[in-house]
C-alpha cells in the first residue's frame, strides 16, 4: 500500500506533460494515452477505495518528512470515495468528449484534462492546508484552459469573469492561511486540529476570522448563495463535457468544508463554536431556492443545467451545514448522486446543443430526439430528486437526518417546494424542446426547415448524422445512478461509517501526527 496513495496525483502529472510535449500533434495518440491513463486511474482509485473501506487511515509523508513539518497525503474513507467519484466521472466525460469530437475543437484538451484531474485528486488527498491551496490552483489553472476550450467571443468573456472571480477567491484563501499560520504556527490539518482545540477561549478572535475566511473561500467553490454568481456564466458557457467534469469542482468546495469543519473547526472545538453552523444553513437554503428559480427561468439549456447544479449543490450544503454525524452521512450519499446527476445533465444538455443550439424553444425535430429525450427525462428526475432514481433516496435521507434539528421545518419546506419547482422547470424545458418541435412542424415542416428557424450560430455544423457513440457515456452515467439507487443500502453503510470517521477525528489526528511512516 505504501506508494499507491500518491499515484492518482503522479500519474496525471506525468501524463499531461507527455501529451503536451511528445504527442502534441497526434490526436489519436493523445486520445489513446488519455483514455488509458484515466482507466488506470480508475483502477488505482478502486484499489484505494477498497483499502479505505477497511477503515484504515493511511498517511503518506512526502519526502519522508515527519508529519507537522512535511506535507502529508491522507487516505481515509472520505478522500477514498471522492477519488473514486472523480475517476468514474472523468472516464465518462473523457469518452464523451472524444466521441463527440469536442477534444478536436481546440488545442491541448487532453493535457489540460489530465492536469485538471491532478488538481482535483490532489485536493482530495492532501492533509495540509497550504498544499490544499496549491492543488486548488492547479485545478483552477487547468479549468481556465478547459473553460475557454474551442474559443468564441462569449466563452472568452465568460472565461475572464471566471478567472477573475477565482483569482479573488484564491487571494482570500491566502489571507485565511496567513492568519491561521500567524495564530497557530502550523498548516498541517491534523496539527491544526490539536492547536486550535488547545486555544484558550478568550484568545480566539483571529482564528475565528481565519475560519470564516476559509469558509468563504470554500463557499465560492461550492457556489453557496451570495458567492454563486460566477457559476451560471462559466458553466453555462463552457463546452458541455467540460461543464460535466466541473460537476466535481463544486464538490471540492463541499469536501473542503466537510473536512475542515469536522477536523479542525469541528463542532466540539470551543474556539470556533457555532461559527459556521449558525448561518451556513440559511445561506445553503437560499442557494437551493436560487438554483431552482434559475432552472425555472433559464432560456438556455446549458444555463439551466448550471442552475440545476447550484440547486443540487445547495441541497448538499444544507445537509453538510447541519453538522451532525447523521446529516453528514446523508450528505455524502447525496454528494455521490449530485456529482453524477449534474454530470449527466450537462452531457444531455450538450447533446441537445450539438443538434439544435442552446436556446430552449421549439425547433424542428432533432436527430435521435427520442433517445435524447429519454436521457433528459432521466437526468431531470435525478436532478430534481424524484423517484425512482437516487436523487429521491438522497433527498429522503437528507430530510430524515434533518428531522431532529432546530431548523427541521424550514429545511423540509424549502427542499420540498424547490423540488417541485425544479420539476416544473425541467418539464417546461423538456416539453418545449422535445414535444413542441413535433407539434409545430408536423403540418408544414418543409417551410419551417427553410426559413423560420434561423440556425443558431453557436450550434456546431455537423455532418449529416451526429455520432451515436456519445450516448454510451451518457447512459453509463445513468447506469451509475441506477446502481446507486439499487445499492443504496451498502452505499449508505459506507457513508455512515465515513461520517463516523469524520466526527471522531482523533484517529485521523493520531495517525497523521504519530507518523506510521510511508
Amino acid at each position: 500500500m505504501s506508494h499507491w496513495i500518491i499515484l492518482p496525483i503522479v500519474l496525471p502529472a506525468l501524463l499531461a506533460p507527455f501529451i503536451l510535449m511528445v504527442i502534441r500533434h497526434h490526436l489519436d495518440l493523445q486520445r489513446i494515452f488519455s483514455v488509458a491513463g484515466t482507466v488506470a486511474l480508475l483502477g488505482i482509485a478502486t484499489g484505494l477505495l477498497a483499502h479505505a473501506a477497511t477503515g484504515d487511515i493511511t498517511v503518506y509523508e512526502l519526502g519522508d518528512w515527519p508529519a507537522p513539518f512535511g506535507i502529508v497525503l491522507v487516505l481515509d474513507r472520505l478522500s477514498g470515495l471522492m477519488v473514486f467519484l472523480t475517476a468514474v466521472l472523468a472516464l465518462a466525460v473523457l469518452l464523451y468528449a472524444i466521441w463527440t469530437g469536442w477534444d478536436d475543437r481546440g488545442r491541448h484538451f487532453h493535457a489540460l484534462f489530465q492536469f485538471q484531474l491532478m488538481g482535483v485528486l490532489g485536493a482530495f488527498l492532501t492533509g495540509d492546508a497550504f498544499n490544499l491551496f496549491v492543488f486548488f490552483e492547479v485545478l483552477l489553472i487547468a479549468s481556465y484552459g478547459l473553460m475557454i476550450h474551442s474559443g468564441g467571443a462569449h466563452r472568452l468573456h465568460a472565461g475572464v469573469q471566471y478567472v477573475a472571480y477565482n483569482l479573488i477567491g484564491s487571494t482570500l484563501f491566502l489571507f485565511a492561511l496567513g492568519t491561521i499560520y500567524a495564530v497557530t504556527g502550523t498548516l498541517n490539518m491534523a496539527d491544526l486540529a490539536v492547536k486550535v482545540a488547545e486555544m484558550p477561549a478568550e484568545d480566539t478572535a483571529l482564528i475565528r476570522v481565519a475560519a470564516v475566511l476559509l469558509l468563504l473561500v470554500f463557499s465560492v467553490k461550492a457556489a453557496v448563495l451570495p458567492l454563486h454568481f460566477w457559476l451560471p456564466g462559466s458553466y453555462g458557457n463552457a463546452p458541455g463535457p467540460v461543464a460535466a467534469l466541473f460537476a466535481i469542482m463544486t464538490k471540492v468546495g463541499v469536501y473542503s468544508v466537510l473536512r475542515m469543519y469536522t477536523l479542525v473547526f469541528g463542532p466540539q472545538v470551543e474556539a470556533t463554536q457555532g461559527l459556521a453552523s449558525n448561518w451556513l444553513i440559511y445561506a445553503a437554503l437560499l442557494t437551493v431556492a436560487a438554483g431552482t428559480i434559475g432552472v425555472l427561468g433559464s432560456r438556455r439549456m446549458m444555463r439551466m443545467a448550471a442552475f440545476g447544479t447550484i440547486g443540487s449543490t445547495g441541497t448538499l450544503m444544507v445537509a453538510v451545514s447541519l453538522f451532525t454525524q447523521d446529516t453528514a452521512a446523508a450528505a455524502i450519499y447525496y454528494m455521490i448522486h449530485s456529482t453524477f446527476a449534474a454530470g449527466l445533465m450537462f452531457l444531455v444538455a450538450d447533446l441537445v446543443v450539438e443538434r439544435q443550439g442552446d436556446s430552449i424553444r421549439p425547433y424542428q425535430p432533432m436527430p435521435h430526439g427520442g433517445t435524447i429525450s429519454v436521457l433528459f427525462f432521466a437526468a431531470a428526475i435525478a436532478v430534481a430528486g424524484m423517484p425512482p432514481l437516487s436523487g429521491f433516496v438522497g433527498k429522503l435521507l437528507v430530510l430524515d437526518a434533518a428531522r431532529d434539528s432546530a431548523q427541521a421545518v424550514l429545511v423540509w419546506s424549502v427542499i420540498l417546494i424547490t423540488s417541485f419547482c425544479a420539476i416544473l422547470g425541467f418539464a417546461r424545458a423538456g416539453s418545449l424542446v422535445f414535444w413542441k418541435s413535433h407539434d409545430d412542424n408536423e403540418p408544414d415542416s418543409e417551410e419551417i426547415a427553410d426559413a423560420e428557424v434561423p440556425p443558431d450560430p453557436r450550434a456546431v455544423k455537423l455532418p449529416v448524422a451526429p455520432p451515436r457513440l456519445p450516448f454510451v457515456p451518457a447512459f453509463a452515467l445513468l447506469g451509475v445512478l441506477v446502481l446507486l439507487t439499487v445499492f443504496a443500502g451498502p452505499v449508505m453503510t459506507y457513508t455512515g461509517k465515513t461520517a463516523e470517521q469524520l466526527y471522531n477525528p482523533q484517529t485521523y489526528i493520531d495517525t497523521v501526527l504519530k507518523g506510521t511512516g510511508s
Partner: protein
C-alpha cells in the same frame, strides 16, 4: 515597522478592491494584482516581523526569523504571477474577438448578438 507593513497591506487591498469593482477588464486585472501583492506582504508578515536574524535555528543564535512564511510567499508569488499572465491573455483574446472589454455580460445578449 508593524504599522508600516499593516498600512501597506491595507492600502494595497483597498485600492485593489476599488479597482476590482470597475467595469472594464484592465482595471480589474490591476486590482487583482494589487490584492495579490497585499497578500504576499501579509503572508510574509504572518511569521512575525524581525530584522537581521538568521532564518534557521542554530545553537549559537539567540533568535531566528520563521523561514516558512517566506517559502509560502514565494509560492504565492509564483502562482499569482502565472495567473495574472493567464488572465491577461484570456482578457486580450476576449477583447480582440469581440472588440469589447467589459467584464460583465448579460444573458439576453448571449442569445441575440451572436451573429454580429
Amino acid at each position: 515597522m508593524e504599522i508600516l507593513v499593516a498600512t501597506a497591506v491595507g492600502l494595497l487591498t483597498s485600492a485593489g478592491i476599488y479597482l476590482i469593482l470597475r467595469q472594464r477588464t484592465f482595471p480589474v486585472i490591476l486590482g487583482i494584482s494589487l490584492i495579490s501583492y497585499a497578500v504576499n506582504i501579509f503572508l510574509f508578515a504572518s511569521g512575525r516581523l524581525v530584522v537581521g536574524l538568521p532564518p534557521i535555528l542554530r545553537d549559537e543564535a539567540v533568535a531566528y526569523t520563521d523561514p516558512l512564511p517566506q517559502a509560502l510567499a514565494l509560492t504565492a508569488i509564483v502562482i499569482s504571477f502565472g495567473m495574472t499572465a493567464l488572465i491577461v491573455m484570456i482578457a486580450l483574446s476576449a477583447y480582440l474577438s469581440d472588440n469589447d472589454d467589459r467584464i460583465d455580460m448579460d444573458d439576453v445578449s448571449d442569445l441575440q448578438d451572436n451573429d454580429a
